[in-house]
């Protein structure tokens, strides 16, 4: 482009540039298909639900649907879902961080690191229905671990009160895709930690734990928070895993909404919009918290 302007004084009269860079409105033509697609199949459908949440069956404005969220049969699944997402996101972050740190910083062979990253790529995508089947085959009533525990160690898992179709079972299953996702995201961040920082901390007499607490973690903080929000949304919206694992016996929000859309349970369609709206609000809040904390963390880092 600089070439073009440079040659213009010499040659403009004889050879005007055949093509001009579109400017102004024409520039927008290039992004129009994407914008139209995103509007029609991502943004408007979502807004449609939001609007529906505030509409009465006659089409007027109302808060009744939102109030309906306070009904115990709706409020309770919301609480369970939030708890489930918070716990699996937090545990996923912690365990993922520890595992990634063990492999990137803990002096394990490099081959392990590559293997773990590849496996994480697979496991984080191995969610949904097959994952539920894998856990049923392992920890279900006839699962491998259940049977080994009983036959070899004489321990009955169910006797301990363990049931895969429960909050604990769901948590264990969700961690199978939460931890690898964390590993995938945090490993590059861990790679960014310079060895000099650790050496500097050590030469000042810091212990390994002090190095992590006072140097590494503050640096990693923004990316950790970001991943936490992502993992939260990841498990909050997960339907297939829970559905295949528990049928619909465990009441978490996505399953309630699924049944609602199918028209199985509640007969009030507008309550469905309110439930969906509630889901957007919660994942939205998670992300706003993340953005706020992240800006703060970054400011503090400077």
């Amino acid at each position: 482009m600089t070439d073009a302007t440079a040659t213009v004084p010499h040659a403009s009269a004889h050879a005007p540039r055949p093509r001009r860079i579109p400017s102004g409105v024409t520039k927008w033509v290039g992004v129009a298909p994407f914008m139209i697609f995103a509007a029609l199949f991502l943004i408007l459908p979502t807004l449609n639900i939001v609007v529906g949440a505030f509409q009465s069956s006659e089409g007027g404005l109302t808060l009744d649907n939102i109030k309906g969220l306070a009904r115990p049969e709706i409020a309770k699944p919301f609480m369970i879902s939030i708890k489930l997402s918070l716990i699996t996101a937090t545990l996923g972050c912690l365990i993922g961080l520890v595992m990634a740190a063990a492999v990137t910083r803990g002096g394990l062979p490099k081959g392990i690191r590559d293997g773990m990253l590849t496996f994480s790529g697979v496991a984080s995508n191995f969610a949904g229905v097959p994952l539920a089947f894998a856990f049923i085959a392992t920890l279900g009533r006839l699962g491998l671990v259940t049977i080994i525990a009983k036959d070899v160690f004489g321990v009955s898992l169910t006797g301990f009160g363990f049931n895969l179709i429960s909050f604990l079972g769901l948590t264990l299953t969700y961690l199978y895709f939460q931890i690898p996702l964390m590993i995938l995201i945090v490993t590059p961040a861990l790679d960014g930690l310079k060895n000099e920082w650790r050496e500097a901390a050590q030469s000042l007499g810091a212990s390994g734990w002090q190095y992590w607490r006072m140097v590494a973690l503050p640096i990693l903080w923004p990316s950790l928070l970001g991943t936490l929000a992502l993992l939260f949304a990841n498990s909050f919206g997960a339907v297939a895993t829970a559905m295949a694992l528990t049928g619909s016996s465990l009441s978490i929000v996505p399953i309630i909404l699924f049944a609602q859309i199918r028209g199985d349970v509640l007969q009030d369609p507008y309550l469905g919009y309110a439930i969906a709206f509630g889901m957007i609000v919660i994942t939205g809040i998670a992300n706003v918290i993340y953005i706020v904390l992240r800006t703060r963390a970054e400011r503090w880092l400077k």
């Binding site: 482009m1 093509r19 579109p22 290039g30 992004v31 298909p33 994407f34 697609f37 199949f41 991502l42 943004i43 408007l44 459908p45 979502t46 449609n48 639900i49 529906g52 520890v98 595992m99 740190a101 063990a102 492999v103 910083r105 803990g106 394990l108 790529g121 697979v122 995508n125 191995f126 969610a127 949904g128 229905v129 097959p130 994952l131 089947f133 894998a134 049923i136 085959a137 006839l142 699962g143 491998l144 671990v145 199978y176 931890i179 690898p180 949304a233 909050f236 919206g237 339907v239 297939a240 295949a244 996505p254 909404l257 699924f258 859309i261 969906a276 957007i280 994942t283 939205g284 992300n287």
Partner: protein
Amino acid sequence: MIGRAKFWSWLAFGAGVLYFFLPLIGMFEFSLRAKRGEYSFLAYANVLGDPQFQQTFLYSVIMAFFTIVWGVLLVTPTAFWVRLKMPKLRPVIEFITLLPLVIPPIVIVFGYIRMYNTSSWLPLTGTAVGTNILLMFGYSVLALPYMYRAIDTGLRTIDIATLTEAAQSLGAGWFTIMFRLILPNVLVAVLSGAFLTFAIVIGEYVFAALLNRPAFGPYMVWMGSNKAYEPAALAVIAFAITWACMALIQLITRFSKHERAKG
């Protein structure tokens, strides 16, 4: 101190291996139990021989193919154009492409059902073809975060401004630039996005179930509530597919790093 750190590292790693491999072993062992008293591949034979399996699997493969083509055609020109002409718009586009990670998929498909039902302005759900198209669009939305990131990263490694100007000075139009210059140059990135999309689409459940399409995901759920050992066999198959997709991504990325000095 180093020795202790190493001990804890191995311990954390070992615990991780146990947690991540037990379910895989469990599902494989379970899938072999179909014959009483001995291990066999009967469950696999049952699954593979099931015409329902063949139909739904084929359906999902075709959907994945169209989703990839549509995704590439939509994202590549956009990412290219934004990098070349509208860099200020990049954060906006990036934000939009991240939305599918924030908005739960079930909410998006609920919106589709409400917006494109038979009594709406665009009654896509009225016909099978229309619903298929809607499902494909839905899948492209789900794949958008990955597709966009892959292609945008691919574009970063080439000097698109210079390439475009060179092409234009040789008289190439935008179509030629797109298909004979940009796409071949970001092919590796496109392929990574494509395989990831494939892995997502093959096992997807919510969109297909709520739009009532005969895809592989709903079939797996149906099997889960009706058969004992076949679901485990399906899980093994699904896991193998996911592995294959990821392995292919690694393979082509490594190949491209070999070609270029640094990725």
